[in-house]
């Protein structure tokens, strides 16, 4: 009998979870506890020394969070995961394992505005220096690489402009430079695109968006693809050198192809502290069980809405990679053939003022700074999420003054379009 390989929907429900060993509880229990008792001092020593698998303290690991970690790792095709308090925390944790003061990383300049802020400002205080490259000109990544470069960072589908990155081409550049490729896969989710299949070494997520999917919990996650050789050139001492925090353990030789996820847990999460609440992990896990159904509906609704907007007389342009003729349509066909996500932007002929009016007029769309909810969401980035960027950065990030961003939800598409129709009538 050959072993059957389960499909994506099966993994979305089952990966990481099994009936509780003591109670038989079928849903994943919320292990709402700070700490876990030790059998004896030897057991405690083995746990603290990383010599055995198990739970110590919820800042380092928790059984509910662990189900979430394995679930997302399995969906992405990675060797291990680490859940943290937010998508931003996931990025801090990843870079803390890779960077030393004075090091550089290359990042696509079309990113979530919060990531642009984090890289330009918060990271600079650690001496982690971002060098920006243009995802529309892949060779700019090659030019941006220097001997100080420790990683390349992109989003598979970039927020907010509906930009699709050529992950495979950028992965080749990362491999040539001997650095890992980190892909933020938040907008695509592994249902639409699995970056590891195209050469990503690390995947990060804001679980807050489509994975959780219900707008009720903040969370983040790191997936280790198990593909990068951390010891080859000794440029990643957190993984390749004896760690004084753990009696001289070398994490890569000890944990092999899931060493990066372990390093993120035992060196970064342990000491930086952004742990995820097990209650949030439970809500996000429940969301993931329906991810395939939800993502397809999100994409179908988004395509219909984008097609309708493209015909509207007050709309100057629509940037949705799922539209025929969109500049990213061929990349969308390659990287996310089931759909181009549900977050996209469009421009109003009436500019900044028309944008403000539209977000005020809507009755079904919620005006807020999130994406990936069951509910349809609307925002005017120039006055909100991207407000702190310079005008030039706003335009670069796809958040100019006329731009409105939508995150299309799971309502009936007639109601979604109807709300926009009414609101545009007076915008």
């Amino acid at each position: 009998m050959t072993e059957r390989i389960p499909g994506f929907s099966t993994l979305a429900i089952h990966a990481g979870a099994q009936p509780d060993p003591t109670t038989g509880a079928r849903a994943t229990p919320i292990y709402q506890t700070t700490s876990f008792v030790f059998e004896d001092v030897d057991h405690a020593a083995s746990l603290f020394g990383l010599q055995t698998f198990g739970n110590i303290y919820t800042r380092i690991g928790n059984p509910t969070n662990a189900v979430l970690e394995e679930r997302v790792a399995a969906l992405e095709g990675g060797t291990a995961g680490l859940a943290v308090a937010s998508g931003h925390a996931a990025q801090v944790i990843v870079f803390h394992c890779l960077m030393r003061p004075g090091d550089e990383f290359v990042a696509a300049k079309k990113l979530y505005g919060g990531s642009i802020n984090q890289f330009n400002h918060a990271f600079k205080n650690f001496g982690w220096n971002v060098v920006w490259a243009d995802p529309d000109d892949v060779s700019s990544f090659e030019r941006a690489v220097s001997p100080k470069t420790k990683a390349i960072f992109i989003e598979s589908i970039a927020n907010p402009g509906g930009v699709i990155c050529d992950v495979e081409a950028i992965a080749k550049i990362a491999r040539g430079a001997g650095v890992p490729l980190i892909v933020d896969n938040t907008l695509a989710t592994p249902y639409l695109c699995k970056p590891i299949d195209y050469g990503a070494d690390i995947v990060v997520h804001s679980l807050t968006k489509f994975l959780g999917g219900h707008g009720n919990s903040i969370g983040g996650l790191v997936v280790d693809a198990g593909t990068f050789n951390w010891s080859r050139e000794g440029r990643y001492p957190m993984l390749s050198e004896p760690r004084p925090e753990y009696h001289g353990i070398v994490l890569h030789e000890t944990f092999g192809n899931f060493a990066f996820a372990i390093a993120c847990r035992v060196l970064s999460l342990r000491d930086m502290g952004p742990a995820l609440s097990p209650f949030n992990a439970f809500l996000i896990l429940t969301g993931i069980e329906t991810l395939p159904l939800r993502m397809q509906r999100h994409c179908d609704n988004a395509l219909s809405t984008a097609e309708w907007l493209a015909e509207h007389p007050k709309v100057a342009w629509v940037s949705y990679p799922g539209l025929d003729g969109d500049r990213y349509n061929s990349l969308a066909q390659k990287y996310c053939p089931s759909g181009a996500g549900s977050v996209f932007t469009f421009g109003l002929k009436g500019g900044y003022e028309a944008g403000i009016k539209l977000v005020s007029n809507v009755k079904l769309f919620s005006h807020l700074a999130n994406i990936g909810d069951t509910r349809s969401l609307i925002i005017h980035p120039a006055s909100t999420t991207h407000r702190q960027l310079s005008d030039a950065q706003k335009v670069q990030a796809g958040a100019g003054p006329d731009v409105v961003r939508l995150s299309i939800g799971l309502e009936d598409v007639e109601d979604i379009i109807g709300d926009l129709e009414d609101a545009l009538a007076t915008a």
Binding site: A15, E39, A80, A83
Partner: protein
Amino acid sequence: MDHDSYSDTYIRGILNTVKSIAMVGFSPKENRPSYFAFKYLLERGYIMIPINPGQAGKQVLGRTVYAKLSDVPEPVDMVDIFRAPQFAVPIVQEALTLQPYPQVIWMQLGVRNDEAAALAETAGLKVVMNRCPKIEYGRLSSEISWMGVNSRTISSKRAQLSGRGIQRLSLNRTTMSGGATDAAERAIAKEAADRAAGEGDGR
């Protein structure tokens, strides 16, 4: 058997059958991977036998260290090779001088020697290469899932407690395949090919 991959049934069968494991290349230093695996398997109830000529006669974790396999005065069910691939053939040759034969030759993660494997298989032994018994035990019992590691198994059956202390799960768990890690498998194969090419160049 091509040794590129092993079914969970094959690995679980081995780890459920063997009782004594001689670890060749055991290090008594508590920050070394071999010490980690040794201690973990000892805590899971295996009779662990450390082999290291430089440490012969010493007691480590309550176990006597032997210089070589043929010095071990008790039956060895499995030989776990924690040495570089080029040492695998003489270790298998020595294992085949034992009476009775061990049932299994296991080469650690990163260790593959097809000549040594063929030698053992011809003598009727089972062989596992390029795997770690600690990781495989953790994966098949699902203990490793507590670290967020993709166990590559799923199950609708209750995990079984091992009955030995808390936070310890049994291998006797009913599973089917879970999420695959193809990219990591390809990377391992490429590393091995690069290593082989490197040796060919005399580097």
